[in-house]
Assembly symmetry: D2
Homo-oligomer: 363 residues x 4
């Protein structure tokens, strides 16, 4: 469904980097959820560029909710969030009508859209479109949070520096949700930022890995086969520009384990069934088992770099060189974190609504 | 959509491990595609257990196509493939009504289905259901292959042994599609099998990583955002039991690269636009760029092991121990390979049909 | 989605009139619903041809449920119903490869499937495929019925003879569900059958109108706009071969009313909000209002007649004449009634599951 | 999918009658289609209220396209149309929080949304939301028209006055598309308007029937069973507020025909296969046969009338009386016509794109 995702709760995304407005339509939300614009603003700020580790393009992200909220609460009908583009500088992008930026969608989009797509700043492919996703996700996060479902994401690795592992999930998630550069260990974070700045100085960029934990998910959500929790979450996560890998629980490391190590023994604690370990990331057979849902997302280095690159003019079919100017992020992993949180919240809100009905939250 | 996947070409899966029949309905295929039952038989054989590295349950997989084929060719209307279960031994599974096998869906399914799901052999969660997927995929593979799109998957790692990397893709893919234990380097394969057998002797199991290459995909297929090629392929791949990670191109390794390394420079060769490297795995911005599509899938060790395990009786809410008997695979990665090929073929057939229309193949 | 319909509860249809098996996969049913094969048999019998008013092709409809039921109850996973074709006589249909039967899909299908579709007995277009729909619907009807939702359909008009109107809905629905030729007034029914027989003797066919009432639907089910109760029900109903009109409440007659006549005044009876009249057929703004859901379906006369007809050979692009032999129904309206009941039950089960969650019935 | 409709081309609708903005997101359009804002303006004007036969609420409908168009042409990515609400008067609607307007969704919506939906002017249920649908449809109509597919709708009946039948379709469609009150016979139109005005004077309202013809549709579009052309068109048409009946070809009249009358004999004219009559409305077995697609839509009288009505206060569960003030249409059939054209165009654009691929128009 192209730019619409979700079954019971769906999000439809529109806009281009340098168009008039970007936005999202969020449909199927339970009625009665409080919509706190401060909360949305806060989440959008977590995604905004800042310091020397981000693009100098600084959009105010003055969002406006034009439908679906009445007297401060969701109505249950579609909620549309609009964000105007103010700092558009189309002139920077004239060359992109015909010259492919390596690692970007320009050439692939040309093959798909026959040259009619908006080339300015990547057009509809731009990471800028994650802003309305983050705003939409903030509403879903609030909805989940008020029912005890908490989501937290940290930069577990960036520029070859590792953050510490999750420890006390409740405390770690709470802490992460106050941080713009989301690491559990501030010293590691400092080193990451230094390396991002260094890459920026060299006209280059870096990538990283995000790790997400979700606590409070009830057991029994998800489907065997095609709508497994892993399938649906990965579908959402791979829609984020720059994501090239997704793994659940111990992920690729499990491939080297034996069954006797990888299986999580069940036990009873405080009268509740849980597992002693969580190698499977809270999901068995595609369905939540009541343990924290854990996954990691690999984000490639930003493809927009200032170093000279070999490429082609795809309209002429000729090789050429490219030196990008303009405003670019030397890393997006710290900004992508807010998008991972948002898409996780939207996906879980959807799956919970499929499972428990269109007013499970309201009742 | 639970047990139905795909937009223009869809597959609907049904059945239980020890029910009467398992099967799949394949809808939206272009009309006129030759359906060669020998080809299906061959693909099903690639998935069948064999030797000491697989379960002793040996189903004949005598499939039957009961609709959608007329005079040896697809009609364009739904094609239903049925496979009877002959070697069912329900008695082995009585205990599973209430005792959760660690790493399996039993407890999660109990929470979801309130205890009504078929417990015998994992019921609808069983890997046995991949048989009709493989049969359905074989038809899609033939369809793609006749238009120059070739798919090959090897066991790139198993029990800590690595296979060699892809080299000459055309030759490697051709070779892989003749092998039941799909490795590029036979010596590595021999070591892998030894380790699987050793694990089996010890009542344990091993996992592995599969790597897939697809050549011949035209540029311009896939969507920005929610139906990105990565999103849709990962959605399909994570539906395979035991898959816990999916990465495209250099995947998680890209997280440690710099942009200058990760970007694939475009160039012109023989009048065709291509890239000098393929770190992005043939996909830019969610859309194919004409280069080979490359991805890897992490398969966890089979959760059915013969070692004694701690677990719970979930109906009683009490801790207990479990010693599995019955017939189990000490590894499924070599069998999962046929399923990866099948779901890849089905997904690409779908995306090509969305892109080029319902009779793109026929014309 | 071509041959799959429904969101939370979906049905996938496959098969051809003279293929090996026809069938349906019913997914998303709540777990724990008793599946009574006698009930399915009874519903299938309501749809079976009988007497001189139907085709002499008499299929036993020996259905088999091959998945999704365990110990007599739904598991919550896909339920596949198979019905073999036994009385196939392909020879009757050789000519249909190239000669279009007026009123049938032959020529349209040729344009769509490039001549690859199965021509025998209409192939996948055959009314024979309504048998698995009726079987699937019987399970959904049982599910609804046990929660107080009752569905009844009568032949309100056939061959220009009117049945009496609905009166006491509870009694009328109960009576209809025991009748093979579903009329409220037996005398009218007798006249209808006489006219059908007369048309049959003359080598011709007749049509009719079915009227359905659903009692017990809770208020608040359906959506504004695209998933209005009318939209989704009509989508299902127009998939029945031969249906050319659908209207809700007073339907086309409302076009001649004034607002003051057409509006149903609300009132309170026994502490419950209801309406004094039901011109709107139990639906306001696309959403049920708690009153009986009422609709009518126009069924055209069977296009298979024995009179000589002008037509074309579409492979040669030449005019020709057609004299059908074979086995045909002089009317299908009385058989279509079971299909209307079935699709109504499936659609309502879907909409209730969307509204109340995947185990609303089970809890 | 609630507020999103379509497979390859989809429309997502949002907004409330008295909210900030209403709008639609149109996704999946082929790239390169010229978007003429004058054309959209013209279509919106056809839907706007005028004279004494419509509501005195006169919105300017100053739409704005904020994405999906670049240099005057569609990009192939989502096109969002926004229309601000300027003439909102919320005060008129305070009572509607608890008092149900007969014939309206108020009570049903209360049951569904637990009282959180926006009550002002019907909120999301308001006919006002058809404005962005008309704007979106205008783009689709242009797309179809430039490929020879023409759509025209007339008020075939209103307040018991009949318009003349379609005659020369090309001329009739061309004429209709210039008229705000779309009748083929101006004298009949004059009488209809007189009767609407008379109903308005009496504080009452009238309904009517719209008839649509589509010429130029290629044969072979649509599906057997669930995505039959009738199923998908009726799904769209029944989403229009006030529509209570849809019929194709001769519709309900066919129920009284014999097969020998209802079957359309095929013949060859100018080397092209067509039918001598068109009782089936251009559709056989759910698939277009190349003849004009013909259907009729019954529109009930506007439920907003000024006469005193019996109703209930649904929050108190008590009977009460209602005397509406505010601004209302004494008929909507003449305005609904633009919506029928729009949804027809959107649905056909979708089905053509499913059939021929995502750039069928562009190539």
């Amino acid at each position: 469904m192209k730019n619409t995702f979700g079954n019971a709760v769906s999000v439809t995304l529109f806009g281009e980097s340098h168009g008039k407005e970007i936005g999202a339509v969020l449909d199927g939300l339970c009625p009665g959820i409080p919509v706190d614009e401060e909360e949305l603003r806060f989440r959008l700020d977590l995604r905004r560029p800042f310091g020397r580790i981000s693009t100098p393009r600084r959009e105010a992200d003055d969002f406006s909710i034009v439908s679906g909220v009445y007297e401060g609460k969701t109505t249950g009908t579609p909620l549309c969030i609009l964000i105007p583009n103010r700092s558009a500088r189309s002139a920077d992008y004239d060359m992109l009508r015909s010259v492919a930026r390596p690692g970007h969608a320009d050439y692939a989009a040309f093959c798909k859209y026959h040259g009619y797509s908006d080339p300015r700043g990547g057009g509809h492919f731009s990471g800028r479109l994650t802003a309305p996703l983050v705003a939409a996700g903030a509403i879903a996060e609030k909805m989940l949070s008020s029912r005890g479902i908490k989501i937290g994401t940290h930069i577990t690795r960036c520029a070859e520096i590792d953050d510490r592992d999750f420890d006390d999930l409740a405390a770690d998630i709470a802490a992460l949700n106050t941080k713009q550069f989301a690491v559990l260990d501030e010293e590691s974070g400092e080193k990451m930022r230094e390396r991002i700045e260094k890459a920026a100085e060299e006209g280059d960029s870096v990538g990283g890995v995000l790790e997400t934990a979700v606590t409070g998910m009830p057991a029994g959500v998800g489907e065997p086969w095609f709508d497994s929790m892993e399938s649906v979450l990965s579908h959402a996560l791979f829609s984020i520009p720059g994501v090239k890998g997704v793994e659940f629980g111990d992920g690729f490391v499990m491939a080297d384990m034996r069954g006797s190590e990888a299986n999580d023994p069940f036990r009873v604690r405080d009268g509740k069934i849980c597992t002693a370990t969580n190698h499977n990331g809270g999901i068995n057979g595609g369905i939540t088992n009541g343990m924290p849902v854990i996954f990691r997302v690999a984000v490639k280095p930003t493809p927009s770099i200032f170093l000279k690159q070999d490429t082609v003019d795809f309209r002429k079919g000729k090789e050429t060189e490219l030196s990008l100017s303009g405003r670019h992020d030397p890393a997006i992993v710290h900004r992508a974190r807010a998008v991972v949180d948002a898409l996780t919240a939207l996906t879980l809100a959807d799956m919970l609504t499929v499972r428990y009905g269109t007013d499970w939250w309201t009742q």
